[in-house]
Symmetry: C2
Subunit: 221 residues, 2 copies
């Protein structure tokens, strides 16, 4: 009923809404690398199917039905990434491209088997939450590392940018989810952080990097 192409629009619209609140045609167009005129037509089609609220020149919004459908596609994407890492031995930098395709497989049983074999995981290999079977998603209350203060000790919980390049950058520095990071000091000039973690007594992380790392403060409970 929903085509592969439509699924990609719904998913990207959902992701953009989470990131930036309001979504306009231009943004979605850039993200999907599809011309604005095409996006406009597709929005009208999805509005016809009651998956999107569409009014000319207004920001784009998913309907409740649209949010659920998008959530279910993202669920399949993230379950797949988890399966690829946990059960097939891929690195977290290699799974997104494959999941981008497998998320469109039409088979309830296939994803149920994955879910079961993984022990019903709630986060994917990049720390993003996996929507439940009703397509509902809840983001844990993470903070950006860049917003933390000197002296704090935090735990790396998720990464925002999941580009292969960024993830390889983290691999080289031996950073992975669950890592305990101590903020030694923050350079006022460029907001870079001097931190220590694992076997590394001192590493410098640029603000660009710190903006992309989501952490939980230690000893909250």
């Amino acid at each position: 009923m929903i085509s592969l192409t439509e699924e990609n629009y719904l998913k990207e619209l959902f992701n953009l809404s989470s990131e930036s609140g309001e979504v306009n045609v231009n943004e979605l167009s850039k993200r999907l690398e599809i011309k604005m005129s095409t996006v406009t037509s597709m929005m009208k089609k999805l509005a016809e199917k009651e998956l999107v609220h569409y009014e000319s020149y207004k920001p784009l919004k998913l309907t409740e039905k649209g949010k659920i459908e998008a959530g279910l596609i993202i669920r399949k994407h993230r379950l797949t990434e988890m399966f690829l890492v946990e059960k097939m031995g891929f690195g977290w930098e290699d799974v997104h491209e494959i999941a981008e395709q497998i998320e469109h497989i039409q088979s309830v049983g296939f994803f149920e088997k994955m879910d079961e074999q993984l022990g019903y995981p709630t986060i994917d290999p990049h720390g993003s939450p996996i929507p439940d079977k009703n397509g509902k998603i809840v983001w844990p209350t993470y903070s950006k590392l860049s917003e933390c203060k000197a002296g704090e000790t935090v735990r790396l919980s998720a990464v925002i940018n999941t580009s292969s390049e960024f993830l390889k950058f983290l691999n080289v520095r031996e950073m992975k989810l669950g890592l305990k990071i101590k903020i030694k000091s923050i350079e006022i000039f460029d907001k870079s952080m001097e931190v220590s973690y694992g076997k590394k007594p001192s590493e410098t992380l640029s603000n660009i990097v710190c903006e992309r790392l989501l952490v939980e403060k230690e000893g909250r409970f």
Copy 2:
């Protein structure tokens, strides 16, 4: 370069060629459930891409290049079926539909990981050979059970019809690959066979069933 649709045509053309030698437009049309006129157009397109030899009113033939491409798709299909059975716990009757979709995933690494995790299997869950990385396929010398004689003991090596209904029929009768079957007698009238296997001292198999079971004779070596 080769679309999902084109892949399905190539694969079905390959399969039909193996089964019945010559393939005509009508057969391929029925198998794909696509009208003959559409098949004709597609054959012209595939001829343009040098994947098929096409001449009006002549039987359809894959080129060498076409055979290799088809073999590689079938390889992905069968590796997937094996993975679904061996690593994900599906029954052999449930894997074809899913493999029909996953065979089109574009990722060398994905199928290499499957292959590796499965220990480089050479046959799929239905006993069909898995083409090698060059798309080459070799069928072992199996015989149809229907062609065996009374008194012979054979080993079930493959099933021809892989419809879910037939495989469930075999499940009910506790028949699976590797099973040793003794042919007690053959009814001349309808060619049905009385056989014994596993814990079953006597079962009757219709000729329709025996035509679909491929076996190896015991004690060949």
